[in-house]
């Protein structure tokens, strides 16, 4: 057999059948379910009187709507509450391998919960009605975000109707500099290939800088693959992957573990495998990144300035830049480090794991929130992350700096719960989308790493974290 990419291997090992036009039935091993994109799917099953094909493939939690404070008061918004209670009822009726409801110690953002429970394993196909399912590709798993009709389809048939994507490799060479994180790599990649650059592709991240990232860093990177347009991001399996997965509640044990590891070791792209598109970035040249506009591709280094639309030749792009500057309340040519922030958000499926919190705490330690910053929210990705952070005393570091230490959830990443920006507020956010209105109508989002977010919180403006030693 000719040399295969990791994606080729994962795809081929899950094809149940293929039609003449290339449309495949792809077998799904793990279905992660949350409250927002599942109610209509469960309703569809009920209306058609169809059972769940394989309930032990389902692992579920409530995350998008759940509040991040005053848990003793429950969910105040009645519409949000109904949606979360609907998930409770649906899981009770249909069953699941594991369920972490609101307030459960294991509850958390679905893309944080899955890996930490061992629900995500190398070689799996993983789907979830959430675009950031690409996160799980960090384990050498083929992970897709899907819509609600597809959620229902997977529930009813254990398969997805899909066509194979093309292969792209993004190689990041060299070593990352101090203060440069997986988030900066993700933003730098999107800056190069654009938000549609990965459309139609599965992106494998490779190279020395990627091998050097921790598994949590790889999750951050694969999480943002969708912001580059790719439904799936991938990183090959190595010792770090296997060490991360070992001894998780749902990971294999004993003899099964040894057999699994032997298979997982094969989950790498073969030497000489063909990629339809290859991009190479010099990791050593990447500086801390931040977005200036309303699309993740509108990104510059912390040493940069707000770009000038007059210098853009493409009229559609120029119009988009002008509109973004107006929405963001920025003037072309302004140095990024002169821009002040009102709010800081540290959290989301991109950056709410323990290493992210350690990274932010390292900057916050011994410092105080700037007086001009109205609030700083630190929202751990799960109950387990929260307790680990508290065991390490990180919560104290944050509260002593004047940051708010919250309960886990999606929170201000998409502002479905009460955590949101007011119109005109400018936010340094560790989340993944800076779209108009994403964090609240009229809110202005700048995407950054956890260290850069903490630096903005303590200086009151965007600062180069490398100078805050």
């Amino acid at each position: 057999m000719s040399a295969q990419t990791l994606y080729d291997k994962l795809w081929a090992s899950h094809v149940v059948r293929e039609e003449a036009d290339g449309t495949c039935l792809l077998y799904i091993d793990r279905h992660l379910v949350h409250e927002v994109t599942s109610p209509q799917a469960f309703e569809g099953l009920k209306l058609a009187n169809r059972p769940l094909w394989r309930k032990d493939s389902v692992v579920s939690t409530a995350d998008h709507n759940t509040p991040t404070d005053h848990w003793d008061q429950g969910i105040q918004d009645p519409i949000s509450r109904l949606q979360v209670e609907t998930l409770d009822a649906n899981i009770a009726e249909f069953g699941a391998r594991a369920y972490f409801p609101f307030k459960d110690p294991g509850q958390g953002i679905v893309h944080v919960m899955g890996p930490e429970q061992g629900a995500t394993l190398p070689g799996m196909t993983v789907v979830c009605g959430d675009s950031h399912t690409s996160t799980h590709g960090a384990f050498g798993a083929l992970a897709h975000g899907i819509g609600t009709s597809e959620v229902e389809h997977v529930m009813a048939t254990q398969c997805l109707v899909a066509k194979k994507s093309k292969n792209m490799r993004v190689a990041v060479t060299g070593k990352l500099g101090d203060g440069v994180t997986a988030k900066d790599v993700a933003l730098a990649v999107i800056g190069v290939i654009g938000t549609a650059g990965g459309t139609g592709y599965a992106i494998e991240f490779a190279g020395e800088a990627i091998a050097g990232l921790s598994v949590e860093g790889r999750m951050t990177l694969c999480n943002m693959a969708i912001e580059a347009g790719a439904r799936s991001g991938l990183v090959a399996v190595d010792d770090k992957t296997i060490a991360y997965v070992q001894d998780r509640p749902l990971s294999p044990k004993g003899e099964a573990w040894d057999k699994a590891v032997a298979y997982w070791r094969t989950l790498v792209s073969d030497e000489g495998a063909h990629f339809d598109h290859e991009v190479v970035l010099d990791g050593a040249a990447i500086v801390p990144q931040l977005t200036w506009g309303t699309s993740p591709e509108m990104v510059v280094g912390i040493d940069g300035k707000v770009p000038d639309p007059a210098k853009e030749a493409d009229p559609v792009k120029r119009a988009g830049m002008l509109r973004a500057l107006e929405y963001m309340g920025l003037t072309a040519g302004t140095p990024m480090q002169e821009i002040g922030v009102d709010v800081v958000f540290i959290g989301s499926c991109t950056n709410s794991r323990i290493e992210d919190l350690r990274e932010a705490a390292a900057v916050a330690r011994g410092r105080k929130k700037a007086a001009t910053v109205k609030r700083v929210l630190v929202v751990p990705g799960s109950g387990l992350v929260k307790r680990q952070a508290e065991a390490e005393g990180l919560d104290k570091v944050f509260t002593e700096a004047g940051f708010e230490w919250r309960e886990p959830g999606c929170s201000m990443c998409l502002a479905m719960n009460a955590d949101r920006l007011a119109s005109g507020e400018r936010c340094a956010s560790t989340s993944n989308r800076n779209f108009e209105g994403r964090q609240g109508q009229g809110g202005r989002t700048h995407l950054v790493s956890p260290a850069m977010a903490a630096a903005a919180a303590v200086t009151g403006r965007f600062a180069d974290v490398r100078t805050l030693a």
């Binding site: 149940v16 039935l25 949000s80 799996m124 597809e150 969708i226 509109r323 989308r433």
Partner: protein, 212 residues
């Protein structure tokens, strides 16, 4: 699923690139547990001058007269003309539900985000990719002529302009068959239940840890 064969309809031009699904249907409306009723909140933040929340009387809200959907000449449009990377961002199927509920049956753009693209088919909303220069031409014609209509002929895989110029578009045989017949995709897949079970049993034997 609703069947789609041919459509002759008014066109509404939305001249922005990278229209994301948060813009198509903002997050506060995702709290619904239904799949209908999203039309009045399609493009909510652009369409209205106030902040929208579920349960509001949308007819009584102040409309943004500068937003293209509110122009009287585009009332009743069933084809949305858009720019590249339409539907990027969140996987929320509420986006095609909202477009469909508003009355759109097709979206024409130079490119679409992958998840939105597949979600659309599942709801009988036809996403059509045409080359950027063709889309440029359609924008110019649509803005120049009030009442501009296009014909979408799915069996022939063509978009036809009022002067009879036809532009071909691609669609997989599987999707075309599902749309033309308004077929239930789950029902179609379940015709292969024996294949799925056989695959599953082999997988269970080879990788038992996936079934623990």
């Amino acid at each position: 699923m609703k069947a789609f064969t041919t459509l002759d309809a008014l066109v509404c031009p939305l001249d922005r690139a990278n229209v994301d699904t948060d813009a198509i249907i903002p997050k506060q409306f995702l709290k619904s547990i239904k799949r209908s009723g999203f039309g009045p909140n399609l493009f909510d933040e652009w369409r209205y001058l106030d902040h929208g929340e579920p349960g509001m009387d949308n007819a009584a809200r102040p409309q943004n007269p500068d937003f293209v959907l509110n122009f009287p000449r585009y009332r009743g449009a069933e084809i949305l003309l858009a720019r590249e990377n339409f539907g990027c961002g969140s996987s929320r199927e509420h986006a095609p539900w909202a477009l469909d509920d508003y009355g759109f049956r097709a979206v024409i753009a130079p490119s679409f985000a992958d998840i939105f693209f597949s979600n659309s088919y599942k709801n009988g909303l036809l996403p059509i990719v045409l080359p950027a220069e063709v889309v440029d031409r359609l924008f110019a014609e649509c803005e120049a002529k009030e009442g501009y209509r296009l014909t979408v002929d799915l069996p022939a895989q063509q978009v036809v302009t009022p002067d009879g110029t036809a532009f071909g578009f691609e669609i997989t045989e599987h999707r075309k068959r599902c749309l033309l017949g308004g077929l239930d995709e789950i029902g179609l897949t379940l015709l292969h239940a024996a294949d799925i079970r056989a695959f599953e049993e082999k997988r269970r034997a080879d990788q038992p840890w996936l079934f623990a």
